[in-house]
């Protein structure tokens, strides 16, 4: 069997949720975001990663890595196998990452690999919210 082709990453987005209609296979991306606001760190959140690929055909082991860009530290990594039948049509994928902990404010990245080939990334920023009053307590908890 020939080597799988190198997929081209057409789009990669982080959002709250990807809803997949079972009849039409349409994906609805809910709450696309770049920034994660948190009052205290480390902060944990759930998110969904949507990726659309072209030129893919064959068997792949897709790898998603969450990386802290400050020091290139790996926060988490997951792998999943998939077979793509035809190269003529694009394919897409949705992955839910649950409980990823962001240690400090700063820039983070979700990176996508296919068979150890780096395909692309989506960058996001974790931001410390400064709440006047009691440190580490949100305004809605102060009442």
């Amino acid at each position: 069997m020939s080597e799988p082709s190198v997929p081209t990453l057409l789009a990669m987005l982080v959002c709250d949720q990807v809803i997949i209609d079972q009849q039409t296979k349409k994906k609805s991306l809910i709450g696309v975001f770049d920034n994660i606001n948190a009052i205290v760190f480390p902060a944990a959140t759930n998110c969904a990663v949507y990726a659309k690929l072209a030129d893919a055909e064959g068997q792949y082991k897709f790898k998603v890595r969450v990386v802290n860009l400050k020091d290139e530290q790996l926060l988490g990594e997951m792998e999943v196998g998939a077979t793509v039948q035809t190269q003529t049509e694009p394919v897409d994928m949705a992955i839910y990452l649950m409980g990823i902990a962001f240690p400090t404010p700063g820039k983070y990245e979700v990176q996508l690999y296919a068979n150890e080939v780096y395909l692309g990334r989506v960058t996001m920023r974790a931001i410390q919210l400064n709440v006047p009053g009691i440190p580490g307590v949100s305004p809605w908890q102060q009442h």
Binding site: F62, E72, Q73, E77, E79
Partner: protein, 148 residues
């Protein structure tokens, strides 16, 4: 422990919509109820063995992130990485080209732009030195023009 959920089929076909005839007047949704939806995700643990910290910077990486509308990769380009005080470099030893950036992915993006520009320039130019012909031939091993 962090986990990931994959939708069934993992990588699937893209969505399809049903268009009305252009002659048909636009109308409000008919009120049809969507079919029952499923939620049968595969749960995959997110790996981090031991207690860390772990560097996400690979010493060697296969590059597949060429982002150019006219070009595609025949096969991934093997790169090695180097970290310095100024930033991170990804180096293609065979072609003596490199990319540089604050992070590995910035360096990879820089490398992608560099080789795409170089390949197109070398393909457009007939009068090339032997060195440049050699680089073009090496690039052609990895890069192809996307059919229109």
């Amino acid at each position: 422990m962090a986990t990931a959920l994959m939708s069934p089929g993992v990588v699937g076909e893209t969505g399809t919509t049903l268009a009305r005839s252009a002659n048909e007047p636009a109308s409000a949704p008919s009120g049809d109820v969507l079919p029952r939806q499923q939620q049968n995700f595969a749960v995959i643990p997110i790996k981090l063995e031991g207690s860390g910290p772990y560097s996400a910077l690979p010493t060697h990486v296969l590059f597949g992130a060429l982002r150019h509308p006219a070009l595609k990769l025949r096969e991934p380009i093997p790169l090695r990485t180097e970290r310095s005080d100024q930033g991170i470099s990804v180096i293609w030893d065979e072609g003596q080209e490199f990319g540089f950036g604050d992070t590995f992915t910035d360096a990879a993006a820089d490398f992608g732009e560099t080789i795409a520009e170089l390949y197109l320039q070398l393909c457009d130019n007939e009068a090339l030195s032997d060195d440049l012909i050699s680089i073009r031939d090496r690039l052609s091993h990895y890069i192809d023009v996307r059919p229109q």
